[in-house]
């Protein structure tokens, strides 16, 4: 892993198009500003891990009994 030291207000540039800037230090919290093209998805790592864990929990054997939903399900338009 490449490790760089940066001061508040300083940035790094990735691939010439993604700018990561240290905005503010607040105790143990670092505020980071990210400027990237719309084509580059940026997410907190936790959300990936949360979805991964959810997928693992959701695995079932086909044909397992399913619950019935309450109310008449509406047809999607």
């Amino acid at each position: 892993m490449l490790i760089l030291s940066r001061k508040v207000g300083e940035s790094i540039v990735i691939d010439g198009r993604i700018q990561v800037k240290i905005m503010r230090l607040d105790g143990e919290v670092v505020k980071i500003g990210i400027e990237a093209p719309a084509s580059v998805p940026v997410h907190r790592q936790e959300v990936y891990e949360e979805i991964q864990r959810n997928n693992q929990k959701a695995v079932m054997k086909e044909g397992s009994p399913l619950p019935k939903l309450a109310g008449p399900p509406k047809k999607p338009s």
Binding site: Y48, Q52, L66, P76
Partner: protein, 146 residues
């Protein structure tokens, strides 16, 4: 025919194309790239996304809009481009359902599986507004599983 299957096959053909390719897999299941989308009318509005070559590995899915018409997932442009989706009507969304041990059921609204209705290529997309939704959105259950 469930809503998932019927919407997948609309409007072009009457044969329900039920193989979905996920070139990137599902998160945590990246190596599995081909699923069958199976729908039993008796299980409506649920459907199954089952690994084509492994019957023991399946996910229950649901069209999230059936339960939550106000759901407004924001699909990142990179994902729409990857899937070849130009307008909302090109996309079929499936929420992965978890049936919990105490029989309550939830669906994942942060990371829906988005499928191009025409090419049947899909991806589990982390929506740009994931912070507004839960991975365990409670489904209204009338009758628990036996």
């Amino acid at each position: 025919m469930t809503s998932a299957e019927s919407t997948l096959s609309q409007p072009a053909s009457t044969t329900a194309p039920n193989v979905v390719r996920l070139p990137l897999g599902l998160l945590g299941f990246e190596q599995i790239k081909e699923y069958a989308l199976l729908a039993d009318p008796a299980e409506k509005p649920f459907a199954w996304l089952r690994v084509t070559n492994d019957k023991s590995l399946a996910f229950v899915v649901i069209d999230p809009f059936v339960v939550m018409p106000e759901y407004k997932p924001n699909i990142p442009p990179a994902d729409a481009e990857f899937l070849g989706i130009k307008e909302a009507s090109d996309a079929l969304l499936l929420g992965i359902v978890t049936i919990h041990k105490d029989h309550h059921a939830t669906m994942n609204l942060k990371g829906p599986v988005v499928i191009n209705r025409h090419s049947h290529i899909g991806k589990q997309v982390i929506i740009a507004n994931a912070a507004e939704y839960s991975v365990e959105h409670l489904l209204p259950i009338a009758e628990a599983v036996a």
